[in-house]
Each structure stands twice: as C-alpha cells, then as structure tokens.
Amino acid sequence: MRASSEIALQQAALAIEHLDVRFGKGDEMVHAVRDVSFAVDRGESFGLVGESGSGKSTVLRAIAGLATDWTGRIAVEGQNLGPKRTAAFYETVQMVFQDPYGSLHPRHTVDRTLGEPGRIHGVADLDTRIVDLLRDVGLGPEFRFRYPHQLSGGQRQRVAIARALMLEPKILLLDEPTSALDVSVQAEILNLLQRLKREHGLTYVLVSHDLAVIAHMCDRLAVMNAGRVVEEMTVDQLRRSEPSHRYTQQLLKASLGYDRAAVDALETFD
C-alpha cells in the first residue's frame, strides 16, 4: 500500500488515510466507512467497487464535503482538508452524480446550470466558455437554452459532466455516472469520460457496483464491503481473476452471469 510512504502521499492527487464516516448519534449511529485508506496518483483512474451499503459513495461524499461527520485524513494535492470546503477546493475537485434526472435543476436551462459555478467563481468570458464546454461534451449550441425535460438521460449526464468541468478541476469524483443509462448510452458516456481525461489530464475516482465498468475505466481499484476496503488491486490482477479475498472472487463470479450451481455456494460477508 502506497499510503505508507509519506513522499508518495505528497505526490498523490488524492490521499485518504484512516477515514471513518458516521451518520447519526447514539443508538441510531451508523458507522458507514471504517478505516479506509488509499491514494490516487495524478492522471490515474481509481475505482471503488462494492454492493449497496458498502460505503463506497460515502467515501466520495466525505471527500466532496457532503458527509461532514468524518475523522482521519483527506489530502488533495498534498493539502489536508479541514471540516469545511473552500472555494479553491471546488476549483480542484468536482463531482458527477448517479442520477442525471435528479442532479439538474428542472427549471434551470442548460445555460443557467452551466453558468452558475462560473458566476460564483468569477470565470472570465462565461459566454464563450459555455459554448466550448457544450462542444467538449458532444452537445451542439442548440442545447444551450433547453430545459432538462427536453433532454435524454445521456444528454443530461453530458450536461452534468460539462458543469463539473466549468471550473477546470483536476480531479473528478464520479458516483455511478452511467448506472441509470441504457448500455449503448453508457458506452457513449464512458468514451466521453475517457477522452476528457486524456485532453484535460484529469484524475478520476469512479464509484460503481459494476466490475466491468470499473475494469474498463480504471487502473487500480479498491473493493469495499460493510464499510471497509477488503482488497486493493490493479485492474490487470482483476482481469487475470487473481483477487485474493473471497468476497472479491464472489463478486467477480456473480458479475459474469447467472450460474445456478454457483448460487448455492454464495457466502454472506458482514
């Protein structure tokens, strides 16, 4: 694990050490993330995979400042984060959410959705920037004054990605960006994300329940179960079916399709 080396940590785009995230208080408290550590290099794509309730999205939300009750260390470009996120943070890190139907304001035009972060952060020549961004995500200028209900799911996700790119961030946090989309549209969005990463030198942290999506997009991944990272490995190791933890082996097997005999062998991991 790279986190052991302090130098590597300083060079990492994003470093997480001993992260714990809790929700609620007293008897009602849920310990959603337990002692999670990983580091993501500049220009790398890092995957977090796991089933619902494994804490994978909560890790992203803690980084983005959306889950506030956390302990441990989160460092972006060598800078430790405090409890509050600054304007400078959002110029470095942006997030794309799962549901493009829920993440865009239904009564704001594409123009207003894209313009908002630009106005807050004082982006120069916003007008040109909006048109450029739309082109960047494969949407023509005719989309600029449309409302979300006039767009398909794939087009909405393109708008959400364009909004995340408005402040020219270095790191994108992608929370299940294609799981609400049809497979053919998923392919288009994944290709778009790959191209944007190359052109803008971005670093990705991608959360998904789909091992195939993670394998396609990422260099390394961490497998989460019940709030903990059970295993960290490279995608090459995953492709060679070399996961060492039984939970990962089971996840890999289940993702390859239905197999009646394999079902009886399924174990529960808590």
């Binding site: 089933e51 619902s52 799911g153 049809d182 497979v183 053919s184 998923q186 392919a187 288009e188 994944l190 290709n191 790959q194 329940h209 789909d210 091992l211 195939a212 999506v213 394998a215 396609h216 997009m217 995953l238 492709r239 089971q250 996840l251 890999l252 289940a254 993702s255 390859l256 399709g257 239905y258 197999d259 009646r260 394999a262 079902v263 009886d264 399924l266």
Partner: protein, 291 residues
C-alpha cells in the same frame, strides 16, 4: 395445472399498443408475435423499446386512452382480448402474476408483510385466516427468508431491498400461477442478491412447470438465465434466438448492444457505440412464436 403441454401457455399474434396524444399517436408496441411455454423467455431491449408495455398488455393493464389490438392473445385456451374487467381479475394475480422492478413501490407501506401476502392468498382461494397464515409462512421459507415468523410481522420499510423483492415474489407465487411476468425484477438489487432471487424463480420454473416472461435490459443476465431471448427495438421484435446463442446474434442492433458492453475478461481501448439506423424501424419484425 391445466392445458395441453405441447401448446404454449401464452400465444400472442400481431399485438400493438398505441397511445394517442394531442399531436400524434405513439406506437409503443408494433405488431409483435411471440409465445411463452413452460420455459424462461427473456424480453430484452433498451428503455422505450416497448418491453414493459408488452407485459402490461398481456396482463390487461393498459388503460384508456391507450389502445391494445391483437389478432390473437390466448392464455391457456382463454381469449384474453374478450375478457371483461371482472374476468381479467380472476386471472390476474391468480393464474398470471407480475413482479415489478421496485418492491418499495409495490408493497403497501402501512400493512405488515405477512398480512399482505395472506390477503393476496385469500382473495384467490377463500382460505381461512389460519390456513392463509400457514401458507404464507411456507412461502416465505420457500423464497429463502431465514426467519419467516419475524418477517411476517415486519413492515416493508423494515426489510432490505433484496428481502423486499423476495417478499414480492412470495406474494406473486402463493396462488401458484401458471405464468409469471417479471419486469426487471432484480435490477435494483446487488449482484449476489440478484443471483439468489433468480435461483428461486429458476427452481420454481423447473419444479412447478411455470412459464416465465423475464423483461430485462441486461443482455448478459438474460443470456445466462433464460432459455429463449426476444430482442425488441422501437416496439418491434427485431430478433429472437436461443439464449445460449445470443453471442452469435445477427441483427446489427443486437450485435451493437452486445458490443457496447464493457467486459471484465475482454479489455478494449474504446467501447463501440451503437449507430441506430432508420431502416430498423421500418423493416418487418420477426415472429417469435414457438408452436
């Protein structure tokens, strides 16, 4: 179980579903023909392909102003087209059952799980309350719920998504239907839970000789789970084949869908995307009946 084993359970010929709007008529399903025997038939397509409307039309759940037309829609010798609302209720839930995608929206939130299942049973069988309770507990056990007594008294919000879906399946299967229509029954579930739920349905098909219409967008899942596959595009059936032969599909739409899937075992630099052709909408559909 009644009917002739060699005849399909469900035979549909020339089914169309249309919705007139102010400006035009939306043709959700266009002149499709298919059959379901005592087997697992997968209906695959993307959103808007008409797969859900096909299932709803069979169950008589399309309401005006929606228009359903068919040259033939026969279930175990019964002409579904001529049924009154009352006659349809005799069949729906009793002989043809449907499992929907999300148990959260299908279960009554203010009634315990056990009462809901027992009620479903009593509506169709006129069984006594104690008999209904006994059957409900048996059914909960059959869908591998470890502690049926506790779950019987639980409210839907107190159970997990996977358990909720198993409860839905228990409720749908308790009247012992001949045909189960499952509309994306597992797409909201984790992959391991999904496999467990499918195994329950699989066993019921092979043990009870039930027919299954499995509506899904997941090609890999359908290929590995079903016996036969029907691929829908823009309201039509563009291709049909044995599930085991799906990887050798010929229609460019099916091939495009398969190619756009990322795979763990086959890395590609760039995913291929689907170029939809206008001709797919106008070419005649495929007859997916096996008679």
């Amino acid at each position: 179980m009644t009917g002739n084993a060699s005849k399909p359970l469900l035979e549909v010929e020339g089914l169309s579903v249309r919705f007139p709007t102010r400006t035009r008529v939306v043709e959700a399903v266009r002149n499709i023909s298919f059959s379901v025997g005592r087997e697992k038939v997968g209906i695959v397509g993307e959103s808007g392909s008409g797969k859900t409307m096909t299932g709803r039309a069979v169950l008589g759940l399309i309401r005006p102003p929606g228009i359903v037309e068919a040259r033939k829609m026969e279930f175990d010798g019964i002409d579904l087209r001529s049924l009154s609302e009352r006659q349809y209720r005799e069949i729906r839930g009793n002989r043809i059952a449907m499992v929907m995608q999300d148990p959260k929206f299908s279960l009554n939130p203010v009634m315990t799980v056990g009462r809901q299942i027992a009620e479903a049973y009593r509506v169709h069988t006129k069984a006594s309350p104690s008999e209904a309770r006994r059957r409900t507990l048996e059914m909960l056990e059959a869908v591998r719920i470890r502690d049926p007594e506790r779950v019987y008294g639980a409210y839907p919000h107190e159970v997990s998504g996977g358990m909720g879906q198993r409860i839905m399946i228990a409720m749908m299967l308790i009247p012992d239907p001949d045909l189960l229509i499952a509309d994306e029954p597992t797409s909201a579930l984790d992959v391991t839970v999904q496999m467990q739920v499918l195994a329950i349905v699989d066993d019921l098909v092979s043990r009870r000789g039930m027919g299954l219409m499995f509506i899904s967008h997941d090609l890999n899942l359908v290929a590995s789970f079903c016996d036969r596959v029907v691929i829908m595009y823009a309201g039509q059936i563009v291709e049909t084949c044995r599930a085991s032969e799906l990887h050798a599909a010929k229609h460019p739409y099916t091939r495009g869908l398969l190619a756009s899937l990322p795979r763990v075992d086959q890395p590609v630099e760039r995913l291929s995307t689907l170029t939809r052709q206008e001709a797919w909408k106008t070419e005649p559909g495929v007859d997916a009946r096996v008679l």
